[in-house]
């Protein structure tokens, strides 16, 4: 308790001798805590209670000796306890008025005896014994509190073995615990206080002056300073009072009360003793409680003031906001100072300030605790102030504040766990990535009249019965709720809490009215977040179970609006919302509408529509997609897809489209015959619906069966015709996407050519946003796999725009463009155009692109270019450093890149000169290193490359030396026949070298090759036979050599 006593308790500054404790709520609270601790000590720690203090605690008591009963020897003026120490001295002795106590046991008993005098006794004791811990435990133990480490304490225990010191130790720890507890406790108290500074006070007074004067409407008759002189620091109190934190004194004359003489100090505002008549001196003594500011004080004192004040509020509040801003500025400085002063533990701050305390004890009085307040009190200010305006506590203290910057909150978090509890809420917010920061209204932005009208309506919502509430709700709907001012006004006057509260009642009408408003204002991202923070989602999810359809509808629609960010979607799922929303879809299924629906009820179809709307919002999270599927949502969605209401179809298709990113959904979509209906709705009039349908087809058409289904249901024609409308870019992107994926099937491409889609696509290669371009180019890439289409694209002038797109940066677009260009290059005439446009060089430079997909795609595209270009060898050589670049790509670890580069090398190596160059760049060892692979695609192209590279110098032997032969033999065991052909070719080439033949033979190549000879593939036959021939020839030659 030492630390708490020295630093938290507010000592009066009255004199230098025996100082007394001020009667403040804080002190009282601390004393009470101490009393609770001491009084229960004898029961909780009986052993330690017997411990005899090193020095007795002495003070002047007010207790009468007669109050002591059993266990004491009582005389007229003295009391001695029967309990004695080792030396026979009594543990408690009184000789009026002095009292000496030497154990906790006696202290406990004393407090029991004192009954309602407890507080006074405790106060007297603490006042007389400024450092009780030292007296109790002795000087050396008191130092313990400075170093907190447990090690130290253990150390002490092990050093001196005797039981007394053990008890002492325990006692020390108990006292430390109490100390910590007291500090925490006082923190809670301090945090509720407000600190004023001269600027705030001055502004307050200035403002009130504005609204003072004669007449009924003013808030005060007059308000004046007692002194005209203002010190440079903004205070008007004389310097010797300033050190007590006093700022200035004002004389206030309200309409209905006598003139009040008020002290404004840093701690708050209170009534002083008033001006003495003769000399104009002020009696500085405090005569009232401390209020947090002048307005609160006056409201309490003068009814007239508070009444007129509420009338003036309109004009006042703008100024008010300014004041808030002012209030924050010094706080920030303080906080900044605190950052420096806040190392690992909260205690050290106290310590540090303790040093200050020593230096200038009078001026820096109470500084530590005030500093604390500066950090975590910060947020509460705003809401407190706002609350005074509406005269109601909304219980939203923490949330309404501006988000504390992560850095600061981190710091404070580190500093003390207890404090963290107070502020943690705001820091947890920062995790949310998609949520925009909360803006509060500009400090002095003029508030629109709607604000005050809404405030009034919210007041009626709070204080009205069902009828008044419904009227207020209906009236609120007349505001333009789509406007941000109104949305934020509802929140800022505490309307959200009330609206959400209303949802928790049984009043159907109130719930409907409230949801109607929430539905509108939840279009605002900030409001969404507030609704989630206030726990609105679980309540709305519960309403989904209501028997009233219109309630269900409204709740679902509101959820649809709110669930636009991840945390909200998660909340919906966690509270079982997905299952309930899916259940809403079921409503429309039993189509027999009751003849007579209740008054406030909506139709079943509407319920299903709202359910789908909410699911659409929710389906943006992966887990929710799963949850929808598990709840059996897909067949229901499929069922709803059969209806013809556009506003029902959009959310349904939207949900499906969102979910189709999951494999499980795509399978289900196929199984539920959803494609048919998607195709049907492509023909709808509604652009949004068309867009979502096309998007869903785009997602699903990765699957071959689905692509066929689209064709079978006649979906290709509407897709092709939608290409002609290019105004709606979102829809165009979706449609081109669907065409791209559909054109992976050859039959579909034929259809598209029939519908003249290819010409249209070529037309879309220019002046379109990237999303469209990616899809258009992707589609063309697929179409150009066929000869007719390549010709078509060239004839429509598609090559030039395609080559132009090679200079993009969008990765997906580049992959598609290279593929399309590569496909075009298959045709010699197109190749000429590409060559003329310098397309090959552009492709080649894409080999340097950081994305492996782009690299691979570019390398693939280069193959046909080199094949079909005139003077390919010369062209390749003309790219400075190009060959080295290609060879070095063999070091990549991406299989696709490797395969594509091998293919490119195969083509490059067709030119002898180039083969020589790449051999010099070390292509042989690099290829050999790749030989150990199981990837059939890579195997095939690698074998081809090896067989090509054998054509130069002593490369054949080199492949053998770099151990490429044995793995190649194993390729013959692969299941892929194209691998067999390439491998047989390579082996045939390699078998020209005798050493390689030996390796092949050793690895059992002959038997495998013999099987290959029986293959229907002629090239394979030939290569295998040639290889066997070479091996056999070598064997014969050896035999011959042996016998001769």
């Amino acid at each position: 308790m030492g630390v708490a006593l020295t630093r938290s308790v507010q000592w009066s500054a009255a004199g230098y001798g025996t100082r007394t404790l001020e009667i403040t709520p804080l002190n009282e609270a601390i004393l009470k805590e101490i009393i609770v601790f001491v009084a229960s000590f004898i029961y909780k720690h009986p052993q330690e209670a017997k411990y005899v203090f090193v020095e007795p605690l002495e003070w002047k008591t007010n207790l009468d000796p007669s109050a002591f009963e059993s266990g004491y020897v009582v005389s007229e003026t003295t009391v001695k306890s029967e309990e004695v120490d080792k030396d026979g001295q009594p543990l408690l002795s009184v000789s009026v008025p002095h009292i000496r106590v030497r154990s906790f046991g006696q202290l406990s008993r004393l407090l029991l005896t004192a009954k309602d005098m407890k507080l006074k006794e405790a106060q007297a004791c603490i006042e007389a014994n400024r450092d009780p811990v030292t007296k109790i435990l002795g000087l050396d133990y008191n130092t313990m509190k400075e170093d907190t480490s447990v090690v130290n304490i253990l150390d002490k225990i092990t050093k001196d073995e005797d039981p007394e010191s053990e008890i002492k130790m325990k006692l020390g720890m108990l006292l430390k615990q109490l100390d910590l507890h007291l500090l925490n406790h006082s923190l809670k108290h301090i945090s509720l206080e407000i600190r004023l500074n001269p600027t705030i006070v001055k502004n307050d007074i200035e403002l009130l002056k504005h609204f003072s004067g004669n007449g009924e409407q003013t808030v005060l008759e007059s308000i004046d300073y007692t002194s005209d002189y203002e010190f440079s620091n903004g205070c008007r109190a004389p310097p010797w009072r300033q050190i007590h934190g006093e700022i200035c004194y004002v004389l206030v004359k309200p309409h209905d009360v006598e003139t009040l003489c008020i002290t404004c100090s840093a701690e708050g505002v209170f009534l002083n003793g008033g001006k003495t008549d003769d000399e104009g001196e002020i009696n500085y003594e405090r005569k009232s409680e401390i209020y947090k500011d002048l307005v609160t004080f006056l409201k309490e004192r003068s009814a007239k003031f508070s009444e007129n004040m509420s009338k003036q509020e309109v004009r006042f509040s703008g100024e008010w906001k300014k004041r808030e801003a002012l209030k924050e500025a010094p706080k920030k400085e303080e906080a900044a100072a605190l950052q420096k002063a806040l190392p690992a533990s909260g205690k050290s701050v106290l310590e540090k300030n303790y040093i200050n305390l020593g230096k200038s004890q009078m001026t820096k009085r109470l500084q530590p605790s005030l500093n604390w307040k500066a950090t975590f009190d910060f947020k509460e200010h705003k809401s407190l102030l706002r609350d005074t305006q509406e005269e109601k506590h909304g219980g939203r203290l923490e949330r309404s504040g501006p988000p504390v910057s992560p850095r600061r909150s981190q710091l404070v978090r580190k500093s003390a766990e207890k404090i963290e509890e107070i502020i943690s809420e705001s820091s947890s917010e920062s995790e949310e990535d998609e949520e925009p920061p909360d803006h509060y209204q500009e400090a002095n932005a003029g508030l629109p009249s709607e604000y005050w009208q809404i405030q009034k309506l919210v007041k009626y919502l709070k204080g009205g019965n069902q009828t008044a509430t419904v009227i207020a709700l209906c009236s609120m709907q007349d505001f333009n709720l789509a406007q941000e001012t109104c949305q934020l006004a509802i929140r800022d006057v505490g309307g959200l809490e009330v609206l959400i509260n209303l949802l928790d009642t049984d009043e159907v009408k109130c719930k409907i009215g409230s949801l109607k408003i929430l539905k509108e204002i939840s279009h605002n991202p900030q409001i969404r977040r507030n609704i989630v923070d206030l726990g609105g989602l679980p309540i709305m999810v519960n309403i989904l179970d209501s028997p009233h359809k219109s309630l269900k509808c409204l709740a679902a629609e509101t959820i649809a609006n709110v669930a636009k960010f991840r945390r909200a979607r998660r909340a919906v799922r966690r509270h079982g919302g997905i299952t309930k929303l899916v259940a809403l879809l079921d409503c429309a299924q039993n189509s027999g509408e009751p003849a007579q629906s209740s008054l406030y009820d909506a139709r079943d179809v509407e319920v299903a529509r709202c359910g789908a709307l909410a699911l659409w919002s929710c389906s943006k999270s992966y887990e929710n997609k799963e949850a929808i599927r598990k709840a059996g949502g897909i067949p229901l969605l499929a069922g709803l897809l059969k209806t013809s209401h556009e506003n029902m179809l959009i959310p349904v298709v939207g949900t499906l489209q969102e979910c189709a990113s999951e494999e499980s959904y795509r399978t289900a979509i196929k199984a539920e015959r959803i494609i048919e209906n998607l195709v049907k709705n492509l023909n709808s009039e509604n652009e949004q619906l068309q867009e979502h349908c096309a998007m869903a087809i785009y997602q699903c058409a990765e699957d071959k069966e689905t692509r066929d289904l689209v064709r079978l249901h006649g979906g290709l024609k509407p897709l092709a015709s939608l290409l002609n409308n290019t105004d709606n870019k979102e829809r165009l992107a979706a449609v081109t996407g669907a065409i791209w994926k559909c054109s992976i099937s050859k039959e579909n491409v034929t259809k598209f050519r029939e519908y003249k889609a290819i010409e249209t696509l070529v037309g879309l290669l220019t002046d379109q946003p990237e999303e469209v371009l990616v899809n258009v180019v992707g589609a063309l890439g697929e179409c150009c796999q066929e000869y007719e289409n390549r010709v078509l694209v060239r004839k429509c002038g598609g090559i030039q725009p395609l080559v132009n797109l090679l200079i993009g940066i969008n990765q997906t677009l580049l992959v598609n463009v290279t593929k399309a260009v590569g496909a075009c290059a298959l045709e010699p005439e197109s190749m000429m155009i590409i060559d003329r446009l310098d397309g090959v060089r552009l492709l080649w430079s894409l080999l340097k692109n950081p994305h492996p997909d782009v690299k691979a795609s570019a390398a693939w595209a280069l193959c046909p270019c080199i094949q079909n270009a005139k003077d390919a060898g010369e062209m390749v050589r003309s790219f400075v450093g190009g060959l080295e670049l290609v060879v070095n790509l063999l070091r990549s670890d991406n299989k696709e890149v490797l395969a594509s580069v091998c293919a490119a090398i195969t083509n490059i190596a067709k030119d002898q000169e180039n083969l020589a160059v790449i051999t010099d760049h070390g292509v042989v060892p690099l290829l050999s290193k790749l030989a150990n692979t199981n990837n059939d695609k890579l195997r095939r192209h690698l074998a081809e490359a090896i067989s090509r590279c054998c054509m130069w110098g002593r490369n054949r032997a080199a492949f053998g030396e770099y151990k490429a032969v044995a793995p190649l033999v194993r390729y013959l065991k692969s299941n892929d026949t194209s691998v067999h052909q390439a491998t047989a070719q390579a082996l045939y080439q390699l078998s020209e070298d005798a050493d390689n033949c030996i390796i092949m033979h050793e690895n059992g190549a002959v038997k495998l090759l013999l099987d290959m000879v029986g293959s229907p593939d002629q090239d394979l036959q030939e290569a295998a036979a040639g290889c066997i021939y070479n091996i056999r020839k070598l064997a014969l030659a050896t035999e011959k050599a042996r016998y001769t």
């Binding site: 509420s310 009626y460 204080g463 009828t467 008044a468 009227i471 207020a472 009233h548 007579q596 008054l599």
Partner: protein
């Protein structure tokens, strides 16, 4: 009352009432006589529920609490203004009360709210009906201030011809825009949250079961 007479009464009432079927009318007739008690019918004496008995039903069965509104509801039922709700008034009243179309309910509610029956809901009438609708705020000097303000808000919302009072046309238009305003000045229809079970749940022969008042847990008279 003998069986034949009852049969006849049921038939006539069923014919005149579009929202209840014969079975339901029968139930309500039985209910009515149960409530009235065994009074032998004699010439010249009307059998019916007097104001207190009726208010008791409104309170116990439909959870109404507002005295003034309950009086007005009684007035609404008691078409011939003789101080008793007789059997045909009972059936007709309940048919609007429980099953009425929006039009019927609007008409009924407007009659309830038009305290002096002059065809308009005036500001004074609104004030009278809303006077208990706000909690007294200690800070406010004049507790009526809020009510007056509320009346103004209501007028602004509903008074389309801006004559400072609500005609039926005003009221009708406002309710059609926002159904919640049907009971704008106090609950005078059964609360949708509690469905009393007025019809005994004999299995129905014609299978038209959805016409029976929903069989939820509720008070049974």
């Amino acid at each position: 009352m003998n069986r034949k007479k009852l049969q006849k009464l049921t038939d006539t009432l069923t014919k005149n009432c579009k929202h209840f079927n014969k079975f339901e009318v029968n139930c309500l007739i039985n209910l009515f006589y149960n409530l009235v008690g065994e009074v032998t019918e004699r010439q010249g004496i009307t059998i019916g529920l007097d104001r207190n008995a009726f208010r008791n039903i409104l309170h116990m069965t439909f959870g109404m609490t507002d005295d003034m509104i309950m009086d007005r509801v009684f007035r609404g039922f008691d078409k011939d203004n003789d101080g008793y709700v007789n059997i045909s008034e009972w059936i007709y009243g309940l048919s609007v009360f429980l099953r009425g179309t929006l039009e019927e309910k609007m008409k009924y509610c407007f009659e309830v709210f038009d305290l002096n029956g002059d065809g308009f809901i005036s500001k004074e009438e609104m004030f009278h009906m809303l006077k208990n609708s706000l909690l007294k705020q200690p800070s406010e000097e004049d507790p009526d201030e809020g009510i007056k303000d509320l009346v103004e808000i209501t007028l602004k919302k509903m008074d389309h011809d801006h004559d400072g009072k609500l005609s039926f046309t005003d009221y009708e238009q406002a309710v059609r825009e926002e159904t919640l305003l049907l009971e704008a000045f106090g609950p005078c229809l059964p609360d949708p949250k509690n469905h009393p079970q007025l019809f005994h749940s004999h299995p129905r022969a014609d299978g038209n079961s959805h016409l029976v008042w929903p069989r939820k847990d509720g008070n049974c008279i």
